[in-house]
Symmetry: C2
Subunit: 354 residues, 2 copies
């Protein structure tokens, strides 16, 4: 028997819990028959659903949990209520013990991040985790991080994010030295946030083997796909992500209204339906569902809470890809190389800056 | 003769200077024949152009300036080179002396803001100016500020921005108490940036006559038009603005590619051409060209540096509207009311927070 990929699922997470998780697992399993699932959640809810999805049933072990974390639970509350025993916690814990290679949850982001940090801990030399999003661009896809794990980041944390995001881009796109840009306002070296300028100077002065630093980028460079990895702190990153989502919805709304307006435009729509379907597919947010928690001792994938089965399956696909392409190993390698290089090459006087 | 609206133009600002400014002035003048222009710039460049646009010539006075600020000049450099004598400075100065009611420049944002601050100074009780953008939404338009005047803002500065933006929304949309939201990540009261939470608490505790505080909004609420005014500090605001611009271009690119793909889709495009023209008009960035500098003793409008004559005319239209609708007066009123209310009603112990 070929090697299987064990993935733990928080079966209770998301707006619709197991009703979406199990059918989503079915879709992903058809695409990747070598997945084995560890399902965490209420057995009374999961078991009857598995009868409808025998493929998932045969590829899964069910681990009963009494507690499910609600979507509106605050992180501190979630930790108090759900540590050790909630479906969310236990799906993460399976990564810690090595039973699973990666965990997926559609539960609330704050709680999931708090539990992931508490359970998996940040990697050596990494202060803070980040959430990385895969952003569709005119050139393909880019990795954008942090899109909301923590607010603010100093220069060293931005460099950490660059390394983490670079490793993810290598795993995802198979590029040897992905280009990395720091999100800023204005591309001139003298402009923008102090921490970003410092990080830019350091990345320029000490080139890294694992990434190709391309300087500052602005908000409109994300959609252009100017760089493979866009690095920013979590507040601006989250605002950028949500603003892009909102703009896409807005233009979709304009387009629908315009096509429905006259008899002629309706006929035009029918002729061009294939093109519109393609556009809809291109803009389908379900296709790129999944935020990747980076910088912890193990990978956790956050699915959108409102994802349907197709969207949830995309999050599982992403989890699968990250394991197959050895994301954790790549990150560890890059960090070792960076810190070895840093201590070997950096002049003592510049240490303070780092 | 009816009362005229005097508008000063930095005729040398922008990627194409007077070549765009004069034709743009012509377009705006057709729409608003009561404008009178004060043109600042190199006479040798302006005079010949005016011969081609006699309507502008007859409605303008020309003020020769030796110095023009280049698009890549740093703010400090611009002040050194151009104070007192550049076309940019003198167009702003005309607002200070009262010769003009508002100034328009397509020159570089950093230099224009530095000169505007130096020349006009911030209003009493206002620490820092903001740049307000008019953002097309699914419901119409919203005011978003700050989109890049300064990085970071404390709670009091965010409240100042709310008052400034509220007054602008009243002037622009004719709404008596515009709704105002604070841009944040997560809409729960416990989430997001400390300063934003404090500003939110203060706005909730002390309702203002001039605006209706609606709580936190997220990035996707901007395009939805959830509130009339979105308040944020300049870094996140600039990233949001540029990201939305980038996303709109990206989707436009997808749409063009999809429509060109097959014979059927090309036919569909021809039938629906009216609809596409409407969509293009709706998404035309030239229609909403113009950032409004708020919080200074006088209004300055920044046109996009790459704007064409149509886009520049929109910036002049905006300047005209702001004067006609007495923006400066509205801001002054709202500030007086806020500070009077604050000092009359606020308990001494809460003063420290404000």
């Amino acid at each position: 028997m070929a090697k299987t990929i064990p993935i733990s699922l928080d079966a209770m997470g998301g707006d619709n819990g197991a009703e979406v998780v199990i059918p989503g697992a079915e879709i992903a399993l058809v695409r990747h028959p070598d997945i084995r699932f560890l399902l965490y959640g209420n057995e009374q809810v999961i078991r009857p659903l598995l009868e409808k999805y025998p493929r998932v049933r045969d590829a899964s072990s069910v681990h009963h949990c009494e507690v499910a974390i609600a979507m509106d639970t605050k992180p501190s509350q979630a930790l108090r209520q759900g540590r050790w025993r909630s479906s969310m916690w236990r799906s993460i814990e399976a990564v810690k013990t090595g039973e699973a290679s990666v965990a997926v949850s559609a539960g609330n982001t704050g709680a999931l991040m708090a539990m992931s940090k508490f359970c998996l801990r940040t990697m050596a030399n990494i202060d803070r985790p980040a959430i990385a999003a895969i952003w569709p661009t005119l050139r393909g896809e880019s990795v954008v991080l942090d899109v909301g794990a923590t607010i603010g980041a100093d220069a060293q944390q931005l460099i950490d994010f660059a390394i983490l995001g670079g490793a993810m881009a290598r795993a995802l796109f198979g590029i040897q030295r992905p280009t990395v840009g720091l999100l800023n306002i204005g591309v001139e070296e003298v402009k923008g946030l102090e921490e970003v300028r410092t990080a830019g100077r350091l990345l320029r002065e000490t080139p890294l083997r694992s990434l190709n630093y391309a300087g500052f980028v602005e908000g409109d460079d994300i959609g252009k796909g100017t760089v493979d990895v866009v690095v920013t702190e979590g507040f601006a990153g989250n605002i950028a992500l949500k603003t892009a989502e909102g703009t896409a919805k807005q233009i979709g709304g304009y387009l629908r209204a315009a096509m429905n307006r006259t008899f002629m435009s309706k006929i035009g729509y029918l002729f061009a339906k294939g093109a519109f379907d393609l556009l809809r597919e291109k803009m389908d947010p379900r296709k790129v569902n999944g935020g990747v928690f980076l910088g912890l001792n193990g990978i956790v994938i956050k699915s959108h809470g409102g994802a349907d089965a197709e969207g949830y399956a995309s999050a599982i696909d992403l989890a699968y890809d990250m394991v197959k392409n050895e994301l954790t190993h790549k990150i560890a390698q890059d960090l070792v190389h960076y810190h070895r290089g840093r201590f070997a090459e950096a002049a003592p006087t510049s240490e303070g800056d780092l």
